[in-house]
Amino acid sequence: MATTTTADVKSKFDTAAFIKQYAIIGILIIFVVVLTFATGGKFLQTQNLLNVVTQVAAIGIIAIGMTFVIITLGIDLSVGSILAVAAVVSTSLAQLPSATAKYPDLHLPVIVAVLAGIAVGALAGWTNGFLIATFKIAPFIATLGMMSSARGLALIYSDGRPISRLDPTFNFLGQNAILGIPVPIIIFAIVAVTAHVILNYTRFGRHVYAIGGNEQAARVSGINLKRATIVIYTLCGLLAGIAGVISAGRIGSGNPQLGTGIELDAITAAVIGGTSFKGGIGTIWGTVIGALIIQSLNTGLVLLGMNDFVQMVVKGAIIIVAVILDERKNR
């Protein structure tokens, strides 16, 4: 317990605080440098960088939703499964007409398929929020249930097989580029900027921080906790839906196993980006960099010839170190 008195507040520029705040950018740079040298320059090649950034889109978009949730002291374990549901639903509506298609005679505009996938994601997220807000279920439990149920629904809906033979336009979202910039990156950027604006420039954004900072105080301040909770989880589900459509487009099919384990990457990205598990703290730019670190790690370790198993160990260690640093920074 600090023995502080009335006027105890620091007024000068705090170098240590500045370093802690922006240390994450330094970590990313160190990462890139190390990986560049370790791979003999391969890591920095344009194609590889584009790969990193393209692949980061799905993780990053989900991590942004996760950031909202974690700021309010929640968690969403179901994002990977929601991603899969969105992927199978959207692809099933974007198949070329054929006897083996899910809906043999259906031919909808691709935009409808895309929006349907996103809407299904939002619906699943709304369900999470509704359960948490109405029945006061712990977010961990509610979304754990959704994680299992949604994955099951994705498997049932697709008969456990990838849904393929898609309208080529559908793959646009995952595979094409505009002015040389891959579409997933453009979507990721739009989502990030929008989320940043919501968190920092809207009333709702203030509510998100307030709920995480002190839920009871937020309530007394006139914030409708129930509505805010539902909106936050709906948003998280909607973003998982977008990630699902992009992921399906990238591989050109709707695989019900898509997104398995992505919740861990998303949580890791948010946390190493400075989002606090004690609530009330987190930024979108931090999460974006966190996602880039995760994806550099994923790609870099592959370039170095390390297998998945080693990656899992390294990622596990990173999240723990990040939380320890966070602990020392904030309290």
């Binding site: 023995t3 507040v9 420039y201 009333r203 203030r206 105080a217 006139g222 914030i223």
Partner: protein, 507 residues
Amino acid sequence: MTEQFVLQMQNISKTFPGVRALDTVNLEVRPGTVHALMGENGAGKSTLMKILIGMYQMDAGGAIVLDGQTAAIKDTASGLAHGISMIHQELSPVPEMTVAENIFLGREPTARFGLVSRKVMVDECRKLFDRWEIRINPSAKMRSLSIAQTQMVEIAKAISFDSRIIIMDEPTSAITEVEVAHLHRMIDQLRERGKAIIYITHKMDEVFKISDYVTVFRDGKLVNTLPAADLDRDKLIALMVGRELTEMFPKEHAEVGDVVLSVRGLNRGSLVKDVSFELRRGEILGFAGLMGAGRTEVLETLFGVAAAESGEIVVDGKSVRIKQPKDAIAAGLALLTEDRKLTGIMGVLSVRDNMIMAALPKYSPNGMLQKRRIEQVCEEQRKALALKTPSLNQHIQNLSGGNQQKVLISRWLLTLPEILMIDEPTRGIDVGAKSEIHRLMSALAKTGKAIIMVSSEMPEVLGMSDRVVVMHEGRVSGVVDRAEATQERIMQLATGTAGATGPADAA
């Protein structure tokens, strides 16, 4: 002659951020006596006892001497090892465990192979209960017990350590007369066996009935220790109050206007029973009463934190329905809650965010924040309230208690309320900030705001209020005008010993 004391606490001080809770206190307790500690809420009694049992650490320079030997009490385990146990005011049972398991929590008797023996535990517990004539089933789940039974279990638990010093912090606040008599018999027996009982209470009758010595605390200082036989009610109250009120409370005269709030027959559970009162513009209406009298609950009910079961709330002549705080804010009410940390500040958020939170709808008409306006009004508040913070970006948790309180006052002023309800406006705040906040309340009343102030500090109630509503066990036991408000009068009403003055004079 140190041997005649079982306990000597010497030069004990304790500083919390922004507050000096204890100031060089010396307490000496003799074995085989009941030693009562008295004083207003926040006078330092509980803090001193928490230091004694090892829950808090004292500031450097003090010493605890037990039976003539200096003892270092690092934590509660070492407190127990030194023969000190405490019945806490806030009960702390584990609800899903049995009575016996709770009694032996952390020191479970073991049988073969070092395994916990449920049977031994239940047998030991039954022996203990038989010895003290407690009729509670040791195998019952703690959850299934009444509050009074729970309290008896806690008492039995404290006794079961066979400590030389047993501290009881308001043990009778939750039990009925039958159990009180039972507890007093137990205390007599413990005294005969040479135990020292330190007894914290607000109940005067109890003090004179059971205690041998009385120590009075005020503002973190020990005022005096006297044999109970040398004291009477008036002397004791004088010791407890003993300060010049006029200097501390800059209450200025404000023109009292029309009725702005009238509450009729408000009910909620056992803590708000048929509460009616009126509040006028420019008035500071004090709410006095003992802890648990229902004052905070009245404010919470008015503000929609918890829903009223029945009753009518009329603001400015219009009957309003308040189901959640949002409705209350819309009706022009504001509530500065009692517990700054639990329901007030959002610690890791900035001073600016904390300030603007309740008034956000005014500053984001279409959902988008009007950042420039927000900056402007927060800056104005910062100047007007002489807030000490390096910047509005500072996390509020880094401010002192007094400055945090100012931010929270700003939070509510920015909603432009007609009625400001403040629960314990200066709890845990140092003296300087206290008078600033009192001045501010006076100034607000002058501008025609109506203020309800719940306070457990008698000087504050007497010094600041135009009228005082006194509550006792969920009911309004009386309303006293400023001119007639004395500590004695309020204490009588608060303890329910005032005789036949019912809530008839409410309004």
